[in-house]
Amino acid sequence: MRESLIQVAYLVASALFIIAIKLLNSPRTARLGNGLGALGMVLGAVATLFHQAIGRYEWIVLGVAAGGALGTWMALRVQMTAMPQMVALLNGFGGGASALVGLGEALQKLPHGDPPPAWLLTVGLSILIGTATLSGSLIAAGKLHEVLTGRPIVLPGHHYQTAFWLIVNVGLMLWAIIAPTPLPLWLLTASSLLLGVWMVLPVGGADMPVIVAFLNSLSGLAAAATGFVLQNYLLIIAGTLVGASGFILTTIMSKAMNRSLWSVLFEAVGGQVSAASAEGRTVRQTSAEDLALMLSYAQSVVIVPGYGMAVSQAQHAVKKLLDALQKKGVDVRFAIHPVAGRMPGHMNVLLAEADVPYDLMWEMERINPDFPQVDVALVIGANDVVNPAAKTDRSSPLYGMPILEVEKARTVVVLKRSMNPGFAGVENELFYKPNTYMLFGDAKKSLEAITQALTES
């Protein structure tokens, strides 16, 4: 009876997770969705506490208190700009927990009789995926937080080493299935840790978001694998949903960056900060005051934010400029490229943080046809996502990536600090076009100057 009630709770929790993800498809219902997801989690956890196998609670309380406190602290103090590394870290912890549960269950069951091979396979997968997710995520978070260098770290014969560790892992799994003892499982844990590290090290900073989404998918799959180990359908359902979600995000991002997951993993790109070749060509510069004047006479302004807005934390300054312009009757919209910034939806979150209404944020396909009617396209710390080479230059690594066609606007103004390239490391012809003006300096400072000039005028 008790077991049945727990299963009913798990059934309801599964439904809550599904509804949660369903509600995430609109900004209006997303918060409710997240809340229902949390409710499902609480329901699942509380029901589990009544499981008859549970004999004592002291260690549970310890783990819950420690993890809960740490999680709360992290969630409340993380900066919105540090979201990518936060998500990476959380993915890693989830994966690690799944691996530990899989390993622990196996260590406990092995002494009592011969488990079936199919079950041992799921144990192996749970350990392999979970542990590799943990170590890979730590590396990814380190790179994103710039504790590690953002450049690809490629050791001699790197891909052979990665392949080697993969083969070792498969071998260890086979060993564990044929001769079920703890030893191969421990070894598998260790070598999976290495595999995760090896996998992520050679990935450059610009590709990191794809990796984070990929690790997101893996953390889900690790939970699903653990669900197979425990024969727990709630784990399988929740884990698989997350696995699908991460996989789709990975695909979307790879497409938007015009790369394949394979090339992200194995063909190191990005981070090679090849100092810009000024080559004696000149760009037109403008000043905050001139720009303010230009903006105040514009009818239609489109703001294109990029990674630089995140770096200089300029989102609130952007919002102030928006208010000032709207007060002057200027029509202002935001053009959001799917891979602007460092993770999907990065710009949306930052702008939302600064209270920019989401119906002002236009997706690329929707706004691109409008650029010829736009008076000023204001590019704030974006670079690769507005690089026309993606459309014209077959030799560019960006070639084929869909971009925001700002060059079609009557005037383009770019706010950045220097002529340095963006994360793909390529020159941007946009800056040299006759209708383009550059305003050098930190984006936040420039924006504040513009807004001040606007309100004073």
């Binding site: 997770f17 599904i18 369903k22 995430l24 498809n25 209006r28 918060r31 997240n34 997801g37 989690m41 499981h51 196998a53 004592r56 549970i60 783990g63 420690a66 809960g68 740490l70 999680g71 992290m74 969630a75 409340l76 979201m83 936060m86 959380l90 912890f93 989830g94 690690g96 927990a97 799944s98 530990l100 622990g104 269950e105 260590l107 406990q108 199919a118 989404a213 997101n216 953390s219 889900g220 690790a222 699903a224 653990t226 197979f228 359902i237 884990g239 698989t240 949903l241 696995g243 979600s245 991460g246 789709i248 799917p338 993770m343 999907p344 939806g345 949306n348 979150v349 209270d355 989401y358």
Partner: protein, 92 residues
Amino acid sequence: MTEVLFALFIFMLAAFLGFELISKVPPTLHTPLMSGSNAISGITLIGSLIAAGSEENPLAIILATLAVALAMINVVGGFLVTDRMLKMFRRK
């Protein structure tokens, strides 16, 4: 063997359902989707709870308690941070 097979039915259905649901999420919400779905993957918490409450051997207890802590970070951190983000989304 058949237990694993039955579980595969669940896996298959959840995979199809996941694809259908996620492909409807607009790009605006991709970051919250990532952190929110990530919180859901912390469901492995319930496995770790049973382990932490039932293991006998000290090493196993330590591993299980660690698993509880890691999963809790994932769950609490994930849902809270997602809520923080979504709270900010508003219409004109």
